[in-house]
Each structure stands twice: as structure tokens, then as C-alpha cells.
């Protein structure tokens, strides 16, 4: 009996009960808000990339469209992606595009400002499958491509464009 109800044992139990209660009181609000923050969303094979693209451009279900555009171009040529150095949205969008652009090799250019004229003029159009502008401006001399929401434009390099 002495052992079961010693002061040491009582202190031990009280210490750990106190720590448990304090931990719960700190954690529960955070966990609760985490659990209730979002409702269940529609699932799908591309649900994560769709969410990222919707966040960046405002357009739903974009991944599938982009994949079909890239698949329609020559797989042996590169996809060129322009992003802005000072813009995390643009960089994130660029990486998501690079993810979807498989099996093409990609080249991501992080540029200062929004006009990639210099970089683009140095490229050989015959080695490029598509050019993607992520919150950057397409040069006026390049034919218009498909625009998706705000800040995303994809120009497929067809023979007509190359000429």
C-alpha cells in the first residue's frame, strides 16, 4: 500500500496528467480547425494538379487539357516554360506545367520582369514543342496560343508558327 500511494507516485501521476491536459488544451483548437477547414472535395486522378492550377489560374479541370495539348506536339522536342523570378505563383505554376509536360524534356527559364523576348529570340523554333508563359507576357511577334484563366498561355509550335 505504501508503494501504491506514495507521494512520489502521486506527484508522478499529477505531473503526467497535467502535461496531458495542457497538451490537449493547446492542440485541440489547432487540430479541430485543421479537420474542419475544408469540406470533402471531388476526387479524381488529377485532383492535386487540378487544385494547384485552379489556385493559380482560376480554371477548373485544367490538367487534362494541358496534357492533351502536350501530347499533340512532337515528344522529341522540348517544352519551354517561362516563369518570373520574383513571383512564387509563377514559379509554382511553371513546375506544375513541367510535371504535366511529360514525356517532353522541359526547360524552365526564370526571368526578371515579364517579357521573355531575349531568351525566346535565341531559341531554335525547330527544337521546341511548345512555349508556356506563366504569368509572363507573350512577345507580340509570337502567334497567340491558348489562354487559360489569368496568367497562363500555351503556344504549340506548329509548322505554321515556326515559319
Amino acid at each position: 500500500m505504501t508503494c501504491r500511494f506514495s507521494y512520489g507516485r502521486i506527484a508522478h501521476v499529477m505531473l503526467w496528467c497535467g502535461l496531458a491536459v495542457a497538451s490537449l488544451s493547446v492542440s485541440i483548437p489547432k487540430i479541430y480547425s485543421g479537420v474542419t477547414e475544408f469540406p470533402l472535395r471531388p476526387s479524381g486522378p488529377l485532383h492535386t494538379s487540378d487544385s494547384y492550377l485552379k489556385f493559380a489560374t482560376g480554371v477548373s479541370g485544367l490538367s487534362k487539357n494541358l496534357i492533351s495539348i502536350f501530347q499533340s506536339t512532337n515528344a522529341s522536342k522540348r517544352v519551354i516554360i517561362f516563369t518570373r523570378k520574383d513571383d512564387t505563383f509563377s514559379c509554382g505554376l511553371g513546375m506544375t506545367i513541367a510535371y504535366l509536360a511529360s514525356p517532353h524534356l522541359v526547360r524552365v527559364f526564370e526571368i526578371n520582369g515579364t517579357h521573355p523576348d531575349n531568351e525566346l529570340s535565341k531559341m531554335n523554333p525547330h527544337e521546341v514543342a511548345a512555349v508556356v508563359f506563366c504569368r509572363t507576357n507573350r512577345p507580340a511577334w509570337l502567334p497567340a496560343g491558348k489562354v487559360f484563366g489569368s496568367g497562363l498561355e500555351v503556344v504549340s509550335m506548329t509548322e505554321k508558327v515556326r515559319r
Binding site: L19, A20, V106
Partner: protein, 474 residues
């Protein structure tokens, strides 16, 4: 249809893992059902991902999953022939244990819910799932061009493949790459982590309720459940932490004479650490050093040193593969040498300060680190026990090593690098911290041998109390 396919993928994983478990345990040690499920999962992940990688060097297309499935089923047959003895309880669960069990089940359901509500995290998609997707599209092997493509260097082609190839295994069964279904792996790891904590609670503390109680608190560490890089985000940090928990937990239990089966389980999980994440090499080094210490301290056969061979093989094999593929080296760190160390030594105090700040961040860690500090203070008096020393080393040394690698950070602002990743790195040792808490909470139980004998399992607590002082000091 997807549910059936997922069932098939998980089933073959578990069957393969159970076969390996049976081969390792060899009917010599009783394991509880939770332990058997947990190890079947962990070993299954290791076997299937390694087989996909190795066979992928020779075959691709339909042949690859077919071949791996045959091996999984063969391993399952071995497991069926050499069934691992089940540790059955002598008594039914107490009401308090039932209550804790219900709480844990609700928490697991919440983690599954959270996992499906949230999308894959940034790294989960662009560092890990990307490899599974590209491999699936290329007949089961990652295209060689992926490794050399500078445009995709952001996705770290040099990262190992345990988790991506587990996702790939799901894709083979589903017949398509599916970002949503890939997420099912991660709450499964949470379940396995819980199972291991419960089982280790019983082995370390001698009482099931302590394991259940501590496991229930895992849910209340925000970094584990709801923060960036948590168990639901599709990152490999939580899976790595579960592998590390199994490694260290069963090394602790293996530090008992004639407990070679548990030592083999330690060795198997140890080998898989560098295969889960690159940082796993650091955890492998620490856990291997702890293993050497246990071998020496408990006078195990020197043949036990062979336990480190599979891990070394994986580390060297992966490095060789990356070199052959001309994969770029990560650019986040400067070359590790004395000159760089000397010129960046000024970072140490700011780094320590950042670490302390992280420990104090209640939004991310709640009171976890404070509780761990209390737990460590309890264990200081038992430092002569080599197993306690192992546990403390396994918690503290990785943190010190992780912190020291930021000395070599190549980021313009290295503190940004720390801020972005330290919480995820600390997560690797979090479950081991729970083991320390278990030992501290059960302090009183250690003195009472009669009360720690439970359910027919000889627990590590008893083993500890049976140890002679001479062996403890060895």
C-alpha cells in the same frame, strides 16, 4: 473497381511483407497481431519497391508487375508455411483500454478523412508522385531522360524510390496514375505507426494501456496531423519516421539475450531507412551506431554485424544507379568539407536559436518537446542501461546532425532553409520521442515485476529487470 484494385495492391504488399516477416522471425518469437500487420506493411513496402526497381532494370511493361506479383505470392506462401506465432492475451481488454482503443480508432478515421480532404502537398506531388507517374507512363521504369533533364531538377531525381514505387504499385493495379488513390498509402502509415506504438508500449512499459494512451497523443501533435508535410500530405517524412520507430523500438527490445528475431527485424527496417528518403542515410548511420553499441554491450555474436550489410548495399546500389543515370546532385548544400565548415562556423549559434524557436512553436508542436524534455529528465537516472542510452542517442543525435547540415546550406538565406524544412526533419524522430515518454510514464511499473507481466508476452521491462548489473554496465 478502384477499391478492388487498391485492395489487390495492398493485399499483395501485405502478403509479401508477411512472407519476409515469417522468414525473419522463423517461428521463434511471438508477435502480436498489430506487430504482424505493421511489419508486413513496412517490409512489404520495402520488398515491392525494391523488386520493382531491380526487375525494372531488366524487364518492363506488363511483365514487371506480373513478375513482382508472383514473387509477392511466393513470399506469401512461405509465410503461410511458417506462420509467425501469434501472441494471444490471457485476458480480455480492460474498460480503460477499450475506451482508449475507441479514441484511437476515431483518430485514425480522422486521419483518413483529412488525407482525402487535402490534396497531395507540394513535395508530395512534385518530388515523389512525379516519379511514380513517369515510371508508370514508361512501363514501370523511370525514363533515363528524367534523370538528366535539367528542367526537372526541381523534383530531385536523386531521391530514393520506396514511396514513389509503392505508388507505382498502386498504379499498376489501378491501371492508371491516380493522385487521389496514391494518397491512401499515407494514412496507412499512420495506422502502422499507431500499431507499433501500441505494441512497443506493451513491450517497453509492460502495459497495453500505456501504448494506447501514448499512441492516442500522436494525433495531437499538429505537425503529424495537420501541418505542412504532415502524415497526410504525401511527403515521405512521416513514413520515414515510422520506419525509424520500428528500427529503434525493436533494437531496444533486441537488446535482450537470445532475442535474435527482433534484432533481425531491426536490421530489416534499418536497411530500408535510406531507401525511403535521402535523409534516411543520417538516420541509418545513427541507428547502425546504436546497433553496434547494442551488439557490444549485450555481447551478441559478431555475425550480428552482418545486419548492416543490406543497408550499405542499398545506399551503394542507389548511388551507383544515380551515377550511371547521370543524375544531378542536389544543389541545396555546399560540398561537405573542413574548409566550408570553417568558413560557415558562424552559423552555429543562429541555427541553435532557430532550433529552440522551433521547439517552442506551439502551433506546430504543441507541448511535445516540453513533454520530451520531462521524459528525458526521468530517464537520466537510468542512463547506465544501454537500452535507455540507445533511445536517447536515437532521439538527440539525428537532431544535432540535421542541424549541423544547415551549416552547409547553399541557400542565400540559410535560416529560410531551416524554417522551411526543420519541422519535417524533426518529425523523423517524433515517434521515438513517444517511446521515451512511454518509459518515463511507466517509471513506477518497472519496479513492480508482477504487474508488468502481461498477456503471455515477456516484455522488455522484465528483461531489463532480469538483467544483471554486470551486463547493464557492459
Amino acid at each position: 473497381m478502384s477499391a478492388l484494385a487498391l485492395l489487390g495492391a495492398f493485399g499483395t504488399l501485405l502478403v509479401a511483407g508477411y512472407g519476409v516477416l515469417a522468414l525473419l522471425v522463423r517461428q521463434k518469437t511471438r508477435l502480436t497481431l498489430t506487430e504482424q500487420i505493421a511489419f508486413s506493411w513496412l517490409l512489404g513496402i520495402g520488398v515491392v519497391s525494391l523488386l520493382l526497381w531491380i526487375f525494372g532494370l531488366f524487364v518492363q511493361g506488363v511483365l514487371l508487375p506480373g513478375l513482382v506479383s508472383i514473387i509477392c505470392l511466393s513470399l506469401g506462401f512461405v509465410g503461410w508455411r511458417q506462420t509467425v506465432p501469434l501472441s494471444l492475451g490471457r485476458r480480455g481488454p480492460k474498460p480503460f483500454e477499450i475506451l482508449l482503443g475507441i479514441i484511437v480508432v476515431i483518430e485514425i478515421a480522422s486521419v483518413f478523412y483529412l488525407s482525402f480532404v487535402h490534396t497531395l502537398g507540394w513535395d508530395g506531388l512534385l518530388n515523389w508522385e512525379i516519379k511514380a507517374r513517369y515510371a508508370f507512363a514508361n512501363g514501370g521504369i523511370i525514363p533515363a531522360t528524367y534523370f538528366s533533364d535539367s528542367g526537372r531538377a526541381f523534383s530531385h531525381p536523386e531521391y530514393p524510390l520506396a514511396i514513389p514505387f509503392t505508388e507505382l504499385w498502386l498504379y499498376f493495379w489501378l491501371g492508371q496514375a491516380d493522385q487521389f488513390c496514391a494518397k491512401t498509402i499515407f494514412p496507412a502509415f499512420y495506422v502502422v505507426g499507431i500499431f507499433l506504438l501500441v505494441a512497443l508500449g506493451r513491450r517497453l512499459a509492460g502495459r497495453t494501456w500505456i501504448g494506447l494512451l501514448v499512441a492516442a497523443f500522436l494525433f495531437f501533435v499538429p505537425q503529424i496531423t495537420v501541418e505542412v508535410g504532415s502524415a497526410i500530405a504525401g511527403y515521405t517524412d512521416f513514413p520515414l519516421s515510422v520506419f525509424y520507430l520500428a528500427t529503434i523500438g525493436y533494437l531496444f527490445c533486441a537488446a535482450k539475450p537470445k532475442n535474435d528475431a527482433l534484432f533481425r527485424l531491426y536490421a530489416a527496417c534499418l536497411a530500408l531507412l535510406p531507401w525511403v528518403k535521402r535523409d534516411g542515410v543520417i538516420l541509418w548511420t545513427v541507428a547502425a551506431a546504436c546497433g553496434v553499441f547494442v551488439i557490444l554491450a549485450t555481447r551478441k555474436s559478431y555475425r550480428s554485424l552482418l545486419a548492416f550489410f543490406p543497408g550499405l548495399l542499398i545506399i551503394c546500389g542507389w548511388r551507383f544507379y544515380l551515377n550511371a543515370m547521370h543524375a544531378p546532385q542536389g544543389s541545396d548544400f555546399l560540398p561537405v568539407n573542413l574548409q566550408t565548415f570553417g568558413s560557415h562556423l558562424y552559423r552555429i549559434f543562429p541555427l541553435l536559436s532557430a532550433l529552440l524557436e522551433e521547439f517552442h512553436d506551439l502551433r506546430i508542436w504543441s507541448l511535445f518537446w516540453f513533454v520530451i524534455a520531462v521524459g528525458i529528465s526521468y530517464l537520466l537516472r537510468r542512463m547506465r542501461d544501454p537500452r535507455v542510452l540507445v533511445l536517447l542517442t536515437a532521439l538527440i543525435v539525428p537532431i544535432a546532425l540535421y542541424l549541423s547540415i544547415y551549416v552547409f546550406s547553399s541557400w542565400p538565406n540559410y535560416l529560410d532553409h531551416v524554417g522551411l524544412s526543420i519541422s519535417r526533419l524533426l518529425m523523423h524522430v517524433t515517434p521515438v520521442g513517444f517511446l521515451i515518454t512511454m518509459l518515463a510514464v511507466s517509471r513506477r511499473s518497472v519496479k513492480n515485476r508482477a504487474r508488468v507481466h502481461e498477456c503471455g508476452v515477456v516484455t522488455c521491462v522484465i528483461a531489463g529487470s532480469e538483467r544483471t548489473p554486470g551486463v547493464e554496465l557492459a
